[in-house]
Symmetry: C2
Subunit: 192 residues, 2 copies
Amino acid sequence: MQPVELRHASRLINHGPTVLVGSAHAGRRNLMAAAWSMPVEFTPPRVVVVIDKSTFTRGLVTASGHFALSVPGRHQADLVYTLGSESGAGTDKFERHGLEADPGPVLALPLLRGCVAHLECRLIDEPNAQAAYDCFFGEVVSAQADERIFSNGHWLAPTEDNADLHTLHHLGAGLFGVAAAAIQARPLKPIE
Amino acid sequence: MQPVELRHASRLINHGPTVLVGSAHAGRRNLMAAAWSMPVEFTPPRVVVVIDKSTFTRGLVTASGHFALSVPGRHQADLVYTLGSESGAGTDKFERHGLEADPGPVLALPLLRGCVAHLECRLIDEPNAQAAYDCFFGEVVSAQADERIFSNGHWLAPTEDNADLHTLHHLGAGLFGVAAAAIQARPLKPIE
């Protein structure tokens, strides 16, 4: 994993991948799958993620004021689905599934090994958005990515060589679209 | 295109595709590409999309209280990139590029032909989210999808037969990831 400049951090989730929300507070930690996240600003880099009221993650994020977004790759599809189907309230999912996490460089949030990219975020206090839409806004304070698929501030095209790192996009019920191909678009000229 | 039940409407953008924002007011209309949108609730179906202050679309959406989200397919990549690079303030993009649009069934918003899916939305009045984050929340009031890739409330796996309809996910600078493959994930058992 290589550090990503903060001005490029929004690009890591620009294309709508399903993410894992990492959280920790007072000796507890959790990892939850979330299909609903997006950037909202490039500079300063800000993001938003939907965290339902029923989740264990929500309490940890609210109490700590921090959350991480990790972008999993194709090789983690079964794990992502599982982490999205279980609650961390009664169990530590890391122990339950034998997961290895590294502490984030700024907030020491649990970052799952093997992911394509990680963002650490400080929660922005927006109680109305949280209450009305379950929307948690955050400012990105650290970013890193696997240089086999994101390098010098840009995504590389998906190839057979980086197939494990192709991102997952949840279509529903455990069916994930995989960003397994890419197109370089060209601007069209107006019609005559 | 087939109607989609409103309780399934959020699924149409659940996987993070780049969308086209359709808008119209007082004889003007526009179509803008947006990488940043997501659902925020299943029932009632609600979504949010980032619409920058500099865009022509923003004025039309604010004035009319309506916006559409259309999900383009792979065959429209050059057009999506072009629509994201031009302003509609001084020109009608539909005429400029010879585009055909059909009026949406509830709000008569311009829905670009050839797209994979369409949502029509009524703007929810959230002035703080609009001012602080350019976030426009909306409630979905009509939904439709191409039955070759979304049927009975579910996405179908991408195949060669529906290749034109594989969704686009903007990686940056006109490079689009394409959801050209899918994985059916299986839940993991805890380790012993």
